[in-house]
Symmetry: C2
Subunit: 95 residues, 2 copies
DNA sequence: TTAATAGTTCAAAAAGCTTTGAACTATGTA
DNA sequence: TACATAGTTCAAAGCTTTTTGAACTATTAA
């Protein structure tokens, strides 16, 4: 049981990252674009403050749900689909 | 954006229900059994108090991740795989 | 060099989640 | 009837997550 709980740490982090309406809306926005885009542009589309955006992008990044590419002073993000595939679409295989 | 956030309410509830190590362990336990089993038996296997068990089963039930069948004084639960399939394995289709 | 823009960090406050034990309801058994 | 067992409810406490604005770093442009 203790081992099982520890093995679940990564899954818990993924599901926590997904368990928020703003972050889900960010994911939808990035999904329909399907190319990398600056954090600031996404934040403006969500009508959130830049501090709040910074907080949510950090959580998505630490969960491995987005990948990041710094270009000049902008931080471009895109979905990391392999993480979604591993924890969501292949959920039963990784349980 | 407001509409999108509201549309995401059900997904947020599912992901919150999954975003906890005890509930993930309960799901694993129910998955390997693949037949219904009393809450109390699951709770004992997890080494949690009955109050804590009651709390976690309520969250799983409200999210639609388990279905419940009361038999005598026992409450039997099993996974509702259609909910997992809808929100996890078919994640991109429902985004 | 100065000013502007993109994003981060910090601490405090607000909001939300989880655990706890005691008291409870409902059902089954002697 | 009396007792035991399965599970729920409640409020308080403790803990975690999210928002806020001010101050910060880094980069770009005039």
């Amino acid at each position: 049981m203790v081992n099982q709980l520890q093995k679940n740490d990564a899954s818990v982090q993924i599901f926590k990252a997904l368990a928020d309406p703003i972050r889900l809306a960010i994911i939808q926005y990035l999904n329909q674009l399907d190319h990398e885009v600056a954090c600031g542009e996404v934040g403006r589309a969500m009508h959130i403050s830049k501090t709040s955006g910074s907080y949510h992008f950090k959580i998505l990044q630490e969960a491995g749900l987005i990948s990041v590419n710094k270009v000049g002073r902008e931080k471009n993000v895109r979905l990391d689909r392999s993480t979604f595939d591993h924890y969501l679409t292949h959920f039963w295989q990784n349980l």
